[in-house]
Structure formats: structure tokens, C-alpha cells
Symmetry: C2
Subunit: 126 residues, 2 copies
């Protein structure tokens, strides 16, 4: 398993995701201070461009550089703030998620088996 | 800024992303040991279901539980392995990414300005 490659690709995904979160935060701030700009930002961000955060910002720098700079500041701040919780949250949420899926599946299996008990067996139990 | 909310949402995105990476790894392993199953796995995973890793696995548990269990084991292993590098990689890649965008933008501005120097200025410089 190419763990280093996975870590690198995961970091890229994380950066794009935090660019999206930064966009949501800045749009909410602009709702208070400059609604037309908030509207512009949501419009600019709605066409799936945010799949790649860097390409998205590169394009934005060419039309509204002040908004792009603000997004870059906010996404870097988010990265600083969350990175210390991230390992512990990832490990524990992943474990919980797997446990929940396994339990729900076992539960379903047991209930399906119970439903399939032949009629005469059910009669015996009565 | 709701940092805790962002951290929680980021973890959920990470879990889905690692489910996708686990699928790629298991599909490559199955290419060697059970090609028809590798083919099935890629087909099952190609319809955008992987946007939500848990819903994807829940569905898979109902058709091929052994593959779903394997994916769960691999994604948990990936989470364990990469979580210790993640904070440092995220912080440094984010900084690099922002610096690169800022430099490219400044570079473009400077070059555009140079192109816009009036003709008589250019003549003076000759």
C-alpha cells in the first residue's frame, strides 16, 4: 500500500474541502457587509469549480482578487485551527463509523434469519 | 467561526475520501486474485455513490458483505497510518499552495503592467 501517496492525495482533497468551507464562511460574512458581493461569490462557486480549490482560486484572482485573498487567509486559518484535532477525530470517527455499520448489518442478518424461521418452528415456540 | 463544526464536517469528508482510496486499493488487489470481483467492485463504485462513504458501504453490505468488510478494514488502516502525518502535511501544503497562488498572481500583474507601458515610454527606453 502506497501510504505516502494516499497521504498526499488526502491532503490535496482536504485543501479543496477547506477552500469550500472558507467560501461558505466568507459568503456569510459578506451577507452582512456587502450582499451583492456575497451573491457574486455564491454564483462564482456554484458551477463545480470547487472540486479543485487551487484552480478555483486561480480563476477568482483574475476577476476579484480581494475576495480570493480573503478566502486564502480564511482557509489557511482553518487548516491551522483544525489540524491539531484532526488525527484523533479521524481515528475515533472512523472506528465508530465501522462499528455502527457492522452492528446494523449483524442486526439485519439476525432479524432476517428470525423472519425465515419455518412456520412449524414458530408454532413449536408458542 | 464554528471551528468545531468545520472539524466535524472535514472528518466526515475525510472518511468518505479514505473509503474511496480503500476501494481503489482493494480493486487493485482483486485484479490479481479475483478479476470478476474487481470488475464488479469498480462497477458498483462508479455511480457517484462514493460521495457518502457510509451509505455506500451500507448498500454494499447488502450485496457483497465480504468486500464491504474488507473495505472497512482497509479504510481504518489508512486512517491509522496517515493520521500522524496529516496535520503537518496539511499546514505546510496549505501554506505552499497559498504562496504559489500569490506569486503567480503578482507575476501576472507585473507582466500585464509591463505590457501596458505606453508606446512613447518604450521608445524612451530604447
Amino acid at each position: 500500500m502506497d501510504i505516502k501517496g494516499v497521504a498526499k492525495a488526502t491532503t490535496k482533497t482536504l485543501i479543496s474541502y477547506l477552500t469550500y468551507e472558507a467560501m461558505r464562511i466568507v459568503a456569510m460574512q459578506l451577507d452582512q457587509t456587502n450582499p451583492p458581493l456575497a451573491h457574486w461569490l455564491r454564483g462564482f462557486s456554484s458551477t463545480g469549480k470547487l472540486q479543485d480549490g487551487d484552480t478555483y482560486l486561480q480563476e477568482m484572482l483574475q476577476s476579484k482578487q480581494e475576495v480570493a485573498f480573503r478566502l486564502m487567509t480564511v482557509r489557511q486559518h482553518l487548516a491551522q485551527e483544525i489540524s491539531e484535532f484532526l488525527p484523533e477525530m479521524l481515528r475515533s470517527e472512523m472506528e465508530q463509523s465501522n462499528t455502527k455499520l457492522r452492528c446494523a448489518h449483524l442486526d439485519r442478518l439476525v432479524n432476517t434469519t428470525a423472519d425465515n424461521v419455518p412456520e412449524w418452528d414458530k408454532l413449536d415456540q408458542e
